[in-house]
Amino acid sequence: MNASPKLVREMPGLGSLDWRAVLRQIATSRALDDLEEWTLLPGRKVLYQFSARGHELTQVLLANQLTGSRDGVGAYYRSRPLLLSLGLRLEDALASTMMRAGGMSDGRDIGVVFNLPRQSGACVLPVCGGVGTQYTPAVGWAQALRYRGTVLGDKECETSIAVAHGGDASTATNGFWAALNIATTERLPLLFFIEDNGYGISVPSRQQTPDGNIARNLAGFRGLRVLDGDASDPMAAAALIENAVTSVRSGGGPTLIRLVVPRLSGHSGQDTQTYKSAGEIAAEKAHDPLLKLHAQLVPNVVSAADWDLEIAQGRQAVADALDAVERRSAPDPGRVRRYLFSEVAADGSIELQQQGGTYAEGVVPSPGTLHASPQGPRINLVTAVRRTLEHELAVNPRMLIFGEDVGRKGGVHAATLGLQEKFGTERVFDTSLSEEGIIGRAVGMAAAGLMPVPEIQFRKYADPAAEQLNDCGTMRWRTVNRFAAPMVVRIPGGYFKCGDPWHSQSNEVQWVHGLGWRVAMPSNAQDAVGLLRSALRGNDPTIFFEHRSLLDGGWARRAYPGDEFVVQFGKASVLREGTTLSVISWGAMVERCEKAIINTGISADLLDLRTLSPWDRDATLASVRKTRRCLIVHEDTMTAGFGAEIAAVIAKDAFFDLDAPIERLAMPDVPSPHSPVLLDEVLPNVETISQAIIALAQI
């Protein structure tokens, strides 16, 4: 139906909307989809192809509203029209799908896994392949906006918003519900922008939510404003979108807008949509928003000739971009190993990511000192951690601590006792019971220039957060140093007076094998201070393991080494030197190893690795080359525990120096048992370590 000029003028806010520009963006996006689907994919120049045909109008309209200088978007693989409208260059979009050098990932990721770093203006957080991963990082961005506004006085954040952009099927994911809970309980400036095309690949939306309408089902959700619309009425959709964004921007709290759009192509280039009937496909085509827009704009708002001109210009722009990209080389294979972690250039300066963490905004903390200045009586490890957190909170206003029970209660292990009272609820706060949410929002906060310090209450409960943790670790590599998310995830774990499969897990090797994470395993209070401070002042995501039996353990107590004390990652501590064999360990086992060595009277090196990612290969190899015999002791289970990696490296790099096979002592391949009797049977202890030392010395 045609909208009369009178009707257009009556629609609030639409008088200023540049419909030709909207049309141009849609035309460009569609031409790009055409090129890829019909030419580049068959020609094997694009291997993974995702069209946004049918989704363009709503996304272009959204982009038009994202005028805040600190707006941030969590997007997904069908967000290309949004990205192009927010300023992603056509050439970069095409270089990404055609796997050429440059683009958004220098050939490292699929072309529709977007990222758009921005100093000022709407940015797009690094998309991940997993559906539903975009929600809690968007929540984190929203929370960071509020933090920056209230705590850092960044006025521009007060009028900026976060957007979580997803499809209808994504509303069934864990991340969506965690984000919904957080956004509404915290009343965050977050817009859920749901494009409902009725399908998640081949699965219809009625299997994601009852009757397939998430808006109707969430209508009664407290604290959430819900809007429901349809892209087949472009004018009405424009008004609704403008309404939604303005509402969030002006402090109206979280809003969810659902817009029905047709998915005019398969899920991807590989999908032939045999699950849709011919009638269904024809109906979808008839609801093409471009057709509907033509009906509403031509000839009263845009002439037919101008319409055709915009379409043609869209095609031309895409053709020009293709020419430019065809001239680009393939990515340089020599670079593929780079940027897993923060890198240092030849002149010693850090090769900073464009966005994420405090360094990228020019806020670089003091490097600290490797020299310990112990003062006062010995304190236990949990007190040392608390004191370090307190000092770093005081000197770094961008740091914030959160997790389950860390605020009001002060943490179930008392590690954050008193910090909320001292620093306030904006900086030290409790979260909802969703580890996915805890880590997801930390990702968004880090992207927004903060230093988030989330706590996972017990090691095993990181499982629900595994996806967010993995994606955080690989972010720098996937975006070829355009984005990074430095943070410190504090995780208590390991055995205590008893064991059990849920609270006593160790399994630190999972994060050593997980790409992009640094892993700290302090054995004593002094190292805990130094490693924690080093991580809090660093530029990489770090796992900081707080062993439960060391929190108050006597052996681990040390005097506080000073407010500037740091320990370098990848540097072992040599606790004893000897001649007959080398004992390599970390965490709670170090104490037992020391006692065992003294017990046996055998002259041995004892190395406390302190960090497993990176780990001190040089010191380990030097020790083993000297003594020619090596015993590795760790609490984590034996098979594929980190001791296996150490043994493999020694076997390769010190093969000709070995006088005995490399020995490992670890928990057997079972979960931690609850009964102390059973626990004592499976954990390496002073007796079993002593026996292993003696046996190794006698080979």
Binding site: T579, F656, D657, L658, D659, Q698, I699
Partner: protein, 405 residues
């Protein structure tokens, strides 16, 4: 690592006795698991005893017709397949290999594997694994065993392993532990002097003609692949003289003098600080100068690069010591290389002023001369044979034909 497996007589029904009927495999044979090793005959049946695993039959304890009882050991297998029978480690004799260079194939007891560290250390210190008593588990040679052996060879093994120290001597100096070569040389020299009464006779030789010959032929020899040294001439002259004076090419026994058929001349070769080694030119009597030069070249090269084979240092019947190349004019006595009876020392070649007779007129001449000393075992030889031999050698050198190759 291999295991030994006993092959036992199985339990008998009703306590009947068995005798060994026939061995299906012999000592040294490879066997596979379940293969029949031996047949036992009882009152009732013939029983096949199979091999308990893959390996080698290394010992047969019950012969054919022997009566055997249940659980007795019939035979032993080495289960890894290695065919080395347990035997005493071969002890190297100082007379044959004074240098003690490690031989290429060591008799290796499979119960004592060599770790990477041990292999490296054995090679570094030129020690044979068979020389070391292992203190590791099951008698394994440990790295510390090797370093201690190298540092303190000959000392008693201490039961506890302690790292080797370098003790300070009373005068405040340091002690340098002996290498294997040094120990062997020390032992050999002392024994030789103790057993054989050494007596030395001194001659001098005019090498004018030899030098002239060498000057004329050196380039041609070089082009044919042999470097022509003075030593080749001495070897040639000695070979001739030893054929003529066979009692000098001999070994002394209490009851007899053993005269050797072949002339195998050893050349004492210095290895700098590492000691000396004596490679041997076998059957020197059959070589012309070119052949001698060629053989010499190969042996000296092999000696310098540590690649002499055991054959190269065995079977010598006479030895030449080129002490003059170091600048010495004369050396006496030179320690006889047992079990030989004489050794020739060649001093430095010098230009000396001599009194000569030219056409019946006495004149002064400057000649290229060197001193030759022959040290003999006076048990076997007297001055008479010594002087006769050395005269022959000098005569051969001083009358070297002008153009004989």
């Amino acid at each position: 690592m291999s295991d030994l497996a006993d092959v036992l007589v199985p339990p008998n029904e009703e306590g009947t006795r068995a005798t060994v009927l026939r061995w299906c495999k012999a000592v040294g044979d490879t066997v596979v698991k379940d293969e029949p090793l031996v047949e036992l005959e009882t009152d009732k049946v013939t029983v096949e005893i199979p091999a308990p695993g893959d390996g080698t039959l290394i010992e047969v304890l019950k012969q054919v017709n022997a009566e055997v009882n249940p659980d007795e050991v019939l035979a032993r297998l080495s289960l890894s397949g290695d065919s080395t029978a347990p035997q005493a480690a071969a002890s190297s004799t100082a007379t044959e290999t004074p240098a003690g260079a490690p031989t290429v194939s060591e008799a290796r007891d499979l119960r004592k594997p060599l770790s990477p560290a041990v292999r490296g250390l054995l090679k570094e210190h030129s020690i044979a694994a068979g020389d070391i008593e292992g203190t590791g588990r099951d008698g394994r040679i440990t790295a510390q065993d090797v370093t201690r052996h190298a540092a303190d060879a000959g000392a008693e093994l201490a039961p506890a392993r302690v790292p080797a120290h370098a003790p300070i001597s009373p005068s405040g100096g340091t002690r340098v532990p002996h290498t294997a070569i040094r120990r062997r040389v020390a032992e050999h020299m002392a024994r030789s002097l103790m057993e054989a009464p050494h007596v030395t006779t001194l001659f001098e030789a005019d090498l004018t003609r030899v030098l002239a010959h060498r000057a004329r032929h050196a380039a041609e020899f070089e082009s044919r692949g042999a470097r022509l040294t003075l030593t080749a001439y001495f070897v040639g002259a000695c070979a001739l003289a030893l054929r003529a004076h066979r009692e000098v090419n001999a070994t002394f026994h209490p009851e007899a003098l053993e005269l050797h058929e072949d002339v195998n001349i050893g050349i004492g070769t210095a290895l700098g600080n590492k000691g000396l080694i004596v490679p041997v030119i076998h059957r020197a009597q059959g070589l012309n100068l070119f052949g001698t030069a060629q053989r010499l070249g190969r042996l000296v090269e092999a000696a310098r690069s540590g690649r002499l084979s055991p054959e190269d240092v065995r079977g010598g019947t006479f030895t030449i010591s080129n002490h003059g190349v170091g600048g010495s004019l004369l050396a006496a006595p030179i320690v006889i290389n047992q079990p030989q009876v004489a050794i020739l020392g060649v001093g430095k070649v010098e230009r000396r002023v001599c009194a000569v007779e030219v056409d019946g007129v006495e004149a002064i001449s400057v000649r290229s001369m060197c001193y030759l000393t022959l040290t003999i075992d006076h048990r076997a030889l007297d001055a008479f044979q010594a002087n006769a031999f050395l005269s022959s050698v000098v005569a051969t050198l001083e009358r070297w034909p002008a153009d004989e190759p």
